[in-house]
Amino acid sequence: MNNSDFQQRAHTNPWDNTEDFQAALAEAPERQQLLDELQARDRQLLVNPPLALKHRLDAIPEENSGLALWMQWERALPLAASVLLALSVALYFWPQPGTDALSIPDSTLMQAELGNDILQHIRSEPGMLETDKQVTLAEVNEHMDTLGGRFTEDGDSMRITDIKDCWIKGNALHLVVKSQQGTVSVLIMDNAPVDSELPFEDDRFQGVVTPTPRGNLAIVSENAEGIEEVRQVLASHITW
């Protein structure tokens, strides 16, 4: 194999273990340097996943065990029922004079999914509810800069015990606040504001999404009193 052919094969697949390629490597050992460079560059693409990701993935079956059974049942529905549903949806979103039919479905669907996305995110981060760090206001505001908000100086009346950047239909900041009524999760989200306050709940948490000048603010807790307490503090201590 001449050098030109070797270079082409090496650049196409530096992990080529075919007989002719390995023979070409053996016949000219200096070719190993090119191969080493190409393989080293490939290895740099092998980034490692965050440690917490595995826990999130392991939790999926438990969090979705009921849903799996429902999905099996849904596949057994007769085709006519699916067609009927599709027709109903199409008629519901049929453009009315003066409206933009394309914008309505996305906004409605996104709002319907937002509460579930928030709950799913909180369930995927159980460790955040247990940690007890001392997160300063300065740290919070560093993260808040990209979201367009800021905690005022006297916002440090809240005890923030964890903080994490995340993604919920847009860039978001996840705070955990220890209030007198218990632990509260606060999510500040840079995504399309909801039309009005959006309550949501599952068998453990309840929460509410409130639109803000820039996006949405969600407060989630296991009890309603905790939500209200933190909501009042946030209302007076965040500027946009």
Binding site: Q8, H11, T12, N13, P14, W15, L38, Q39, R41, D42, R43, Q44, L45, L46, V47, N48, P49, P50, L53, K54, R56, L57, D58, I60, P61, N64, L67, A68, M71, Q72, D106, S124, D165, C166, W167, K169, G170, N191
Partner: protein, 184 residues
């Protein structure tokens, strides 16, 4: 380096419970899936969500995976579709290259960190038609034929794009080296 070495051992025993089969999938492939997701979307938090969504869909559709040997390609395909779906609906703002976080490796020496950042930037600028086959080969360990099937291309096109992808990266990194005044 890739998952090629692990392809010889069975990933999922067909007699295992549904949960055991799922756990085997996660243990075997979540690292490669994350790596692919990261370079597809170039953002760590989005990649995490993509991976979670991929395995959620895999869990729901696990009964449809009849051939355990096809599990890896199946997962990669789910991820590609999920990435396309999320990008189309919610993430045009991720086109801003400055928002992308370079994966940190604590043990990196400063030179290594610089090289990693340079490669990261070069990959971000690589066109998708070159980046996708390269990632499937390097991270997924797929052959040219397998990549061709996944991307609906012919094999010769895939091989050409792999060759050009590496040459483009080399050229881009060479430019960055000149700009930084250091040697790679």
């Amino acid at each position: 380096m890739t998952s090629k070495e692990s392809d010889s051992k069975p990933v999922i025993d067909d007699s295992s419970s549904r949960q055991q089969r799922y756990e085997a999938l996660v243990n075997e492939y979540y690292t490669d899936i994350y790596r692919y997701a990261f370079w597809l979307c170039r953002s760590q938090p989005v990649a995490e969500d993509l991976v979670q969504e991929t395995f959620l869909r895999a869990w729901r559709a696990l009964d449809s995976l009849k051939n355990t040997g096809a599990a890896k390609a199946w997962l990669f395909t789910i991820l590609r579709r999920e990435n396309a779906r999320m990008y189309e609906k919610y993430r045009p703002e991720l086109d801003d290259i400055d928002d992308h976080a370079v994966p940190e490796v604590q043990r990196d020496e400063p030179d290594q960190a610089l090289e990693r950042r340079m490669l990261h930037n070069a990959m971000v600028q690589l066109e998708p038609e070159y980046r996708d086959p390269l990632l499937l080969q390097v991270i997924g360990g797929f052959s040219g034929d397998e990549i061709a099937q996944m991307l609906d291309l012919n094999t010769n096109t895939v091989m050409t794009r792999l060759f050009r992808a590496r040459n483009k990266l080399k050229a881009k990194l060479g430019e960055n080296t000149d700009n930084n005044g250091s040697h790679s």
